[in-house]
Symmetry: D3
């Protein structure tokens, strides 16, 4: 099965801790050993936010801030590669063309962002589309998609399923500033919509949730069409 995974940058932390990275590496290696084709896009996390914040304070424009976040996200991809070892392609692609070349080798692909004005969510959706993924799994630091922002509203309710057009409507007010994308960026959702990509948003506390989503067990939030 072709599986594209977005690993939220929160996994890597400001001061990256090896335990969680290792656990994810094991889950990915197992899936690959079972014959699945894997591509993984890592978010930038705290380091990306730190560098973006510093750059913005230094007067950098938003596109350049985006680039700094992209480079930070690639650092996390390199760390994931260090954790996986032989089963992953050693190169972190910086264009979808390079991604296709790496994927064509049969190894796991690990990558970060690509170009400004595309969040790593959007990149992951493009990768899922380009590889005709059977599963697109976004690993987040929440239980899935909520009716409201769960960090602010205690009465927010986690959705088991959400229709893509409904999701788009929910997102319509999201801002485009680097680092501020909430839940999932609208470009990602439009790509999921246009290519009807089978998508799950799952909680990242347990790496085996990825396996649950692959098996279509009930986990996180599933996007329907």
């Amino acid at each position: 099965m072709k599986i594209t995974i977005k690993l939220g940058g929160f996994i890597f932390k400001e001061k990256p801790k090896p335990e969680l990275t290792k656990a994810y590496a094991e889950v990915l290696t197992n899936l690959h050993r079972e014959g699945h084709e894997l591509a993984v896009v890592t978010g930038g996390g705290a380091n990306a936010r730190n560098y973006i914040h510093a750059a913005r304070s230094l007067g950098a424009n938003e596109a350049l801030c985006d680039l700094l976040g992209i480079y930070a996200s690639r650092l996390n991809a390199h760390l994931l590669i260090a954790a996986i070892g032989q089963a992953v392609h050693p190169h972190v692609p910086s264009t979808v063309e390079e991604m296709l070349g790496c994927s064509s080798s049969g190894k796991i692909v690990a990558m970060g962002g690509l170009q400004p004005a595309h969040s790593t969510d959007a990149v992951a959706a493009i990768v899922a589309e380009m590889l005709a993924a059977d599963r697109f799994i976004k690993v987040t630091d929440t239980a899935g998609i909520y009716t409201k922002d769960p960090h602010k509203h205690p009465d927010a309710r986690k959705l088991d399923e959400v229709r893509v057009d409904e999701l788009l409507r929910m997102m319509s007010s999201a801002s485009l500033s680097a680092g501020a994308y909430e839940l999932m960026d609208p470009i990602a959702i439009r790509i999921i919509q246009r290519s009807r990509i089978r998508t799950w948003i799952i909680p990242g506390d347990d790496p085996r949730n990825i396996v649950r989503a692959v098996k279509e067990e009930k986990i996180g939030t599933r996007i329907t069409f």
Copy 2:
């Protein structure tokens, strides 16, 4: 002054005709000679649509169709380079990082699209943002932005100015399929909005309209904030 220009692919036609390309090359060369810093993004036009259409019929996914459109748009950038000669950088950048390198040489930069899910409009907006452009000028095959689609509604009225949030509202229903972006793609508009880029949408029948927009003469539609 720093000027970023989006040249609609319609200028290059399916079977590219040299006259209009030449006229644009002259306007651009003159602006460069006067000391302006120029970056030009060319659309894919009819050739892009033809190749995208063929690829889609062959079962290619939308991201790959986007790539074919991007490659076609770069062909137009190469033709523009052939028309301009010495004043333009000979390389067509395929990332914003390469674009920065070319621009850093002081020559005109000519380029097409970059990565899937970014129209050449979005690319041009990113370039304008990255270069901190004083003018972002989109050259279209209409007189500017209309209240409705002028091809379908005879009572459509051209707007001299439009607020960016109003424009975003008008665009909100635009689809993300390759080749189907109308007027200006929402990502481009969000970038214009987040960085308050001074933007004009002008008619492409007369290349000197670019000079009019540079001088802030009344031409096409101006985006306000």
Copy 3:
């Protein structure tokens, strides 16, 4: 068996039509599945001629015109990749070194031109030589090599075989202007000669003619030594 194929640009048309491309993609995929190693060089066709013509009108030198034709030929290679899918390497090489890298992966290689003053015929011959191809098959829009230009002389007779030195003699008057190479460019023939590459020139109306040439059935014109 190692097979290098030159697909005439005529297959892709000015407005590329998917049917013929699809039929060729199927023949190539089948040959690859049977264990043959394939490299395919696509010509530029009508689009290449259109862009070359426009560039020349704009005052571009012949080397730059060649480059435009090369870029157009690569667009056709990308379309062929979209048609073939998994069995082809996703990258279109722009040097023979890159071609070797792609070929080394065991996938079909699809590519266009390389550098000015080499027609795609010459490129295909170089590729055939570099890969030590057992068959070099040039797919044309004629029945093979004729005693005279069949478009001008109704009494032209198709040859079943032609000795390479005889062919060189016939070609000796060919001009080097971009797009004007007739039948096969002399550089290609000299390469065929120096490495004694087993070569067929076959009609492109039926993609299965490639299989016939692979099996050494009587088809088109065979070059002998």
Copy 4:
């Protein structure tokens, strides 16, 4: 004058703070405006150490750990570029050949590490040698080179000058583990020695110390031959 500067990673901190980066950017921009040719190599600092530590815990070999440190150091170079703006080349070179290309443009070059088993000190020394620098200035978080490790020995005395062979003797016990180079790595010193590069080790608390070293005012420690 040709000046090569090594900026210790300590300037960029784990959570990069813009103030010091900005102050350094101003000093560098001024020196460039006065006509000096500048190349700056940034260390990896706390982020490099964090990623190296995580990678080592994940079982990565030392060469791969070095690579993670190199990528982290390049992130700091990108931040410095964001701070400098127009006067710096936008590309962070990843080989000395690319460095030569960037330097050849007349802009400031900003870069991080290059390849495993070369600290950023060694990289800076190679850059200084390759550019035939008139000054090689290493900016540290100490006052210069001490008779002993000043963090451990309160009676350590700062040296105003030190002969390169004496320095080499002091260094001879330094280990090669990533992140563990003390004072200056022996490879750097051997390069300084073989090409007799005029070198200063200066305290980084005040960015203007760079100007003092350029003017050969008494600051930090000077390496003599």
Copy 5:
């Protein structure tokens, strides 16, 4: 004036001697200082022949032998760069596109071969064409073009001028094997012909002969149309 120069590999010898290289570097630097735009293509010489000979003995195909000759020719270009210093672009381009980028910087361009089946003569002609050179000067180890091979025929007479079509006729029997091109390769001559490039073949014993050809003084053999 735009000048493209082919420096025969004989200048660099099997064991390169610095004196002649230095003398050429000075002539080139002076011409550049006077405002001329220079591109120089170096031949492979004895080293190229040695490696080609070894590779052929090892069973390498002719295209791969060509590549080894190309790499050897680039080594000579690097040595020329070492001799020229600041006035030359530090990068040795491996495609005409890269050559255009280097040339666009205003520095001297030094390069070797490009792709198989193009001698460095052909490469130099392509470069002359691409840059619209006012002079194309081929520096050889003979006094110019002779009526016969001067190494074999004592009655061979040096020509002051030769018409390009006459030259082509003389060349028509030249073989395409790597290292075996005599006088000038036919592809080079066809390019000279199609773009009417003003060409001189001059003796390489005195580097100042280049200056004589630039001034159109009587030296070597001039190609006429």
Copy 6:
């Protein structure tokens, strides 16, 4: 088993002779066929020394001299590739990242030097470390490591084993000038030390000595910890 081999440049000679190269190619091909993973770093040999000497005479700095030696060493890697054929990756990597990509394909990797101030010994040690090689075999033109320089001291005695710290002590006086590294460069030894790489220094007169070292038969000098 993972095996990294350093082939001394002496194998390739100033005028490369095919016999020894062929014999080495056969040994390498056999080892690869038996399932071993191979990476081979070739030295620059006489050609490297010749070009370095010429460049130094021309006033080039040591870092640039190093680069010329690196390019010469890559020429030898290309010749080795020509000798091996199908079993080797056709690309000569110029960074460790590219080396990882080539190695990841399962083919033999052949490469020369990387960056200035790293001898090809150091490069080979880095490659051995990066690939976690089970054997690092350095092929030399001596019988192994001697108690003294055997070219100067007739009473020098070959060591069967030497402890890495003892070796480092012996090396401590080695100079860093390009081409002057004796026995093994200290950077290489420190890498061997920090990663405890199982290392043999063996005589290059018989290519089958590599097989002997792989089998841990008594040959040359073994480095112990």
